[in-house]
């Protein structure tokens, strides 16, 4: 029996497989179809202080190898999340796993407020916070928080001061080098990294000559981004001791194992769930089988276990 437990900083996961934010609702929507015993955590959809309507429709477009989406972070605010969604999660899911609460804000202060509100709830099923820094900073004229290492460090530090929960920062992939952003997370006091968020992308309807998405552009996810994500996880692992939650185009165990060998402690399944909700369970079983076949007693031994000259 392979020991599947991993630790993403202080977050204990019973398997190295989680779900990715925005693709798994608040953890309970897929409950009928999911074997939670194969999951180590679920990540909730991004939440801010107040309700937010999200983008106009259409919000997505299927492309070869994945999906471009601009949902726009619709949600009902942190109070509703804590009172209703966490309640439903604990009621609906039989064998629940820790929830990673994905948070965002339009200012550094809002990030800290959301983090404080989630911490204050002290919900036993809330296991960590994940900061989505790929959303527009209203004060800084719409640049995202994750775009500039200085801004990133500052917002991470503010959230760090507001919470004792394990703090994961989710980084954007469209950077020349991930290293300055990792330093910012380290300096700000992050406990772990999530890699990668979607890649900015756009689809144009050539017959109507308009962008397909009402928001014009969106984020590319799914199989198409996997090789780029592996590279970023590899680079990140070589640059830091912070544990990494890797995501981007995991469709089968092989993809997850690539991430772990590149340096991830755990992986999250996003877009693949839409076409195959049993992906997470299959990935978990596949990781276990691989460990057995290759003589690893524990899944955590896979992290960074690349053989390099």
């Amino acid at each position: 029996m392979v020991n599947m437990e991993v630790e993403l900083g202080a977050l204990k996961m019973r398997t190295p497989v989680a779900t990715a934010s925005g693709t798994f609702g608040y953890g309970y929507e897929y409950a009928d179809l999911i074997d939670y015993s194969k999951l180590g955590a679920v990540t909730a959809k991004g939440v801010r202080m107040e309700a937010w309507p999200g983008n106009p429709m259409p919000r997505h477009c299927e492309v070869e190898g994945g999906l471009v989406n601009a949902i726009g972070l619709q949600g009902q605010g942190v109070k509703h999340f804590l009172e209703r969604d966490m309640f439903l999660y604990s009621r609906v899911v039989k064998d629940p796993v820790p929830v990673i609460v994905n948070i965002w804000g339009q200012s550094e202060e809002e990030y800290a407020e959301v983090a404080a509100a989630v911490s204050a709830a002290a919900h036993p099923l809330i296991g960590a916070l994940e900061m989505n820094v790929s959303c527009p900073n209203v004060k800084a004229g719409g640049h995202t928080f994750g775009q500039d290492p200085k801004v990133l460090e500052s917002v991470v530090a503010k959230v760090r001061a507001a919470t004792k929960l394990p703090l994961i920062v989710k980084l954007a992939p469209n950077v020349p080098s991930i290293v300055p952003y990792i330093r910012a997370c380290e300096n700000g006091g992050a406990d772990a990294l999530s890699l990668i968020n979607t890649i900015p992308a756009m689809v144009i309807d050539i017959e109507r000559r308009v962008p397909v998405l009402a928001n014009r552009s969106g984020g590319l996810s799914g199989r198409a981004i996997h090789p780029a994500a592996v590279k970023l996880v590899y680079d990140a692992h070589r640059a830091t001791k912070l544990p990494i939650l890797a995501m981007g185009g995991v469709y089968e165990a092989k993809d997850a194992i690539e991430f772990m060998l590149a340096g991830a402690t755990a992986v999250a399944i996003g877009t693949a769930t839409f076409s195959a909700p049993d992906t997470a369970a299959k990935v978990c079983d596949g990781i276990a089988a691989y460990c057995e076949r290759h003589g690893f007693a524990a899944a955590k031994e896979l992290t960074g276990a690349i053989c390099e000259s």
Binding site: E29, D32, R59, H60, G65, L67, Q74, R223, T273, S275
Partner: protein, 254 residues
């Protein structure tokens, strides 16, 4: 409870130009499916990252689920090539369906493949009339199936090739006037293109009769998990796949 069944294809045949019936064996879904609910079908020959395709249920029972679909794009095109004996992954029952009771006569107002859930509904309601429109008579689907179960159809086509010439609102408004003149009760149930849904919504609100509107939106998950399938309602941005696809007329904001 939602299921994801590996459903054997029992039948996948064209019944009108561009329109097909797909009958699959999906016992758990067949047992629980309600009219107005939908299924989410994975087309096996598309690449694995392709999204599922949502279809209203045309009929369910005896371990089988039937959908009626139009080949419009690469997914339905590929689906049309799947043969009996092959398997498709199908999620369902999904969404909130129609109510299964109705005061007086159910006015079922359909356009295109919108008649699919109305047929399933008609099988469960004691008394209904189908109002159906299309550009030509070839757009009128499954009329024989409605006739089989004793549902009268009132028809309009743009070119007059079947029924009245004009829009389906013609026979609908005539019936509304007729029923109101006689003081008979009716409710409105509709599924079809947005224009039709709005026309029916307006009438329901004006007449203050219950109106049940089934809204189609492009979907990613079909489970309420992704917020892709939005329809504006009095509650804000609602998810069609879980708060709908059937909404009450007074909920909708167009």
């Amino acid at each position: 409870m939602k299921h994801d069944e590996k459903a054997e294809v029992l039948e996948n045949r064209e019944f009108a130009a561009g329109y097909r019936y797909l009958v699959v064996s999906a016992p758990r879904q067949a047992a629980e499916m309600q009219p107005g609910q939908f299924v989410h079908v994975r087309v096996p020959t598309l690449e694995r990252s392709a999204l599922r395709r949502p279809f209203s249920v045309f009929n369910a029972g005896d371990g089988k689920v039937t959908v009626l679909y139009k080949t419009v794009g690469r997914g339905t095109e590929a689906l049309s090539k799947v043969k009996a004996g092959e398997f498709v992954n199908m999620e369902g029952p999904l969404g909130k369906g129609f109510p299964l009771s109705c005061k007086g006569t159910a006015f079922l107002v359909g356009g295109g493949f919108g008649v699919a859930p109305l047929y399933f509904l008609a099988r469960r309601l004691p008394k209904s009339i189908l109002f159906v429109g299309g550009r030509t008579k070839d757009d009128l689907l499954a009329l024989d199936r409605f006739a089989e179960i004793g549902v009268e159809a009132r028809i309009a086509t743009n070119d007059g090739s079947a029924g009245e010439k004009g829009f389906v609102t013609g026979p609908l408004d005539a019936a509304i006037n007729e029923f109101r003149a006689k003081g008979e009760e009716f409710e409105l149930f509709t599924c079809g293109p947005d224009g039709l849904l709005r026309a029916v919504t307006e009438r329901a609100l004006e007449l203050k009769v219950p109106g049940w509107i089934s809204v189609d939106r492009h979907m990613i998950c079909g489970m309420g998990a992704c917020f892709a399938c939005i329809q504006k309602t009095v509650r804000g941005n609602s998810r069609c796949c879980i708060e709908g696809p059937v909404f009450k007329a007074e909920e909708l904001v167009w």
